[in-house]
């Protein structure tokens, strides 16, 4: 890969300096350059939601973010809890409710679910289904995902992502 530019990313409270081709997406940089493989590549076409991360608390698709254009603090699934600390409440509830089968979409589901709650769109199962519709689950764990988001919502009040 020919390197033509340099960008400093802020990810999970740390700075990462990258020399990179202008073509690299945030998703590929996280996985291939920074060892943050928690964020998953599903379709790479903005259709499945597996690559969802937060930028300044807002959920975005990292497959459609160019590293060169990223502004703000990126939070990935690895940034939700410390190395040996307790899990983030949304992670813990996904575990408790068994809200997955194969687990591939789960990091994207959890990042999206946190934003769904902080945006104020987790008021009812219908609202959760509507505002989580950008995250596909090929195992169809949807009923338990909706239950998990609903159960975790009150636990996130007053908490930073």
């Amino acid at each position: 890969m020919h390197t033509t530019m340099q960008t400093i990313l802020r990810i999970n409270g740390r700075e990462a300096r990258l020399d990179h081709d202008p073509r690299i997406t945030l998703l590929d940089a996280l996985r291939e350059r920074l060892g943050l493989t928690g964020t998953k590549k599903g379709c790479d076409q903005g259709q499945c939601g597996a690559c969802t991360v937060l930028i300044d608390g807002r959920r975005v698709l990292s497959c459609f973010c160019l590293v060169a254009a990223v502004e703000g603090e990126v939070t990935t699934i690895e940034g939700l809890s410390g190395e040996d600390g307790p899990l983030h409440p949304m992670q813990q509830v996904f575990l408790d409710r068994d809200a997955y089968q194969c687990g591939y979409c789960t990091p994207g589901q959890i990042m999206s679910a946190i934003a769904c709650v902080t945006e104020g769109h987790a008021g009812s199962p219908d609202e959760i289904r509507e505002y989580m519709s950008g995250n596909l689950c090929r195992c169809a764990a949807y009923p338990k995902i909706v239950e998990a988001v609903q159960q975790a919502a009150p636990l996130l009040i007053g908490r930073a992502p």
Binding site: P22, Q45, G46, G49, V60, F64, A68, E71, S112, S133
Partner: protein, 331 residues
């Protein structure tokens, strides 16, 4: 993705000076990167205009109308209280478009310019696409065309305009503010931003190279509070419209239509203003009969191609439902 040069524009004059036929403006990236990964678009230079959000990213509403900055995000407009109150059709269209993630990313101006979802346009392994390869033919006319357009098509292209927001905006008489590379500005009615396909479907808009949409303007009308957007799709959420209708109604106290605005989506080559339906409704009392007559008028010119033969009927029913729902709104 093919190699490109990346340039970040700190202000509008810089963006204009970096623009050109071989360049593309980069805002949310949700259409552009998608099509670059598919090798359908291959700009030599991306001009990152996100820093221009400070200049062209605000949303303001007052007695003279609504001004939406071209770089405001779809989610920001969807959450705006004045839009929800005074222009419900715009809010309806935004919250039913794409997903929460995409709405956080996509700019309003970029959303207006999103490209067709025609499978033959998006897949370069098909040679015949007059939009990608002018003069090569149209594989869709005899092919998989269930989602494609029945209004505003030509024998050269039946691609559909897939968006929602522009359909609501075209019904509400919106216009777009443009800056031109020489630094001057102009305003264009949204209805003529997109061109009819005709025999040049590869030329999709009346924008010259380097022109930039800085704002979208919607006039103020108290009766726009009686407006809505109804969308019918295969999936209940996160899907493109098979048929949609944007309606605004100015009703006299006895229920007679003083003025009606009708936009149609998912059915047409461009954001479609159904003036025949508006004319049919004016002066009529709005009921099932007059709504059905308006729907017939709206689709009188429909042209179908095999798989999409169901669309005129779905479109008529969607329009009738939307008109009756709009008439029943509490305002």
């Amino acid at each position: 993705m093919r190699p490109f040069a990346y340039a970040r524009a700190g202000d509008t004059p810089t963006a204009l000076s970096l623009s050109g036929r071989e360049a593309a403006y980069f805002a949310g990236g949700t259409t552009l990167l998608d099509l670059m990964k598919l090798d359908v678009m291959a700009p030599e230079r991306l001009v990152d205009i996100n820093p221009l959000k400070a200049e062209h990213g605000s949303i303001a509403a007052d007695g003279s109308g609504l001004v939406l900055g071209g770089l405001a995000r779809m989610s920001e407009a969807a959450e705006h209280p004045a839009i929800a109150r005074d222009y419900p059709a715009i809010r309806d269209a935004l919250v039913q478009a794409a997903s929460a993630q995409l709405r956080n990313m996509a700019s309003l101006a970029g959303n207006l310019l999103q490209r067709t979802r025609c499978l033959y346009f998006r897949d370069r392994s098909w040679h015949a696409c007059n939009k990608r390869n002018p003069g090569s033919g149209c594989a869709a006319i005899q092919g998989v065309n269930r989602r494609l357009a029945v209004l505003g098509v030509s024998e050269h292209c039946i691609a559909h305009y897939p968006g929602d927001l522009a359909v609501a905006l075209v019904a509400l008489d919106a216009s777009v503010d443009l800056v031109v590379p020489d630094g001057s500005t102009r305003t264009l009615p949204l209805e003529v931003l997109h061109r009819p396909w005709g025999d040049t479907p590869h030329v999709e808009t009346n924008l010259a190279p380097g022109e930039l949409i800085t704002a979208i303007r919607v006039p103020a009308a108290p009766w726009f509070r009686r407006s809505l957007y109804r969308k019918v799709r295969d999936r209940e959420s996160y899907d493109f419209a098979l048929a949609s209708a944007a309606i605004a109604l100015d009703l006299a106290p006895d229920g007679t239509v003083r003025e009606a605005r009708v936009g149609l989506g998912g059915l047409a080559a461009r954001p479609w203003r159904a003036r025949e339906a508006e004319d049919a409704l004016r002066g009529q009392r709005l009921d099932e009969g007059s709504a059905a007559a308006a729907a017939l008028a709206a689709f009188a010119g429909a042209v179908t191609h095999g798989e999409n033969a169901f669309k005129p009927e779905l479109g008529r029913r969607t329009l009738v439902r939307a008109l009756l729902d709009a008439a029943a709104m509490e305002t």
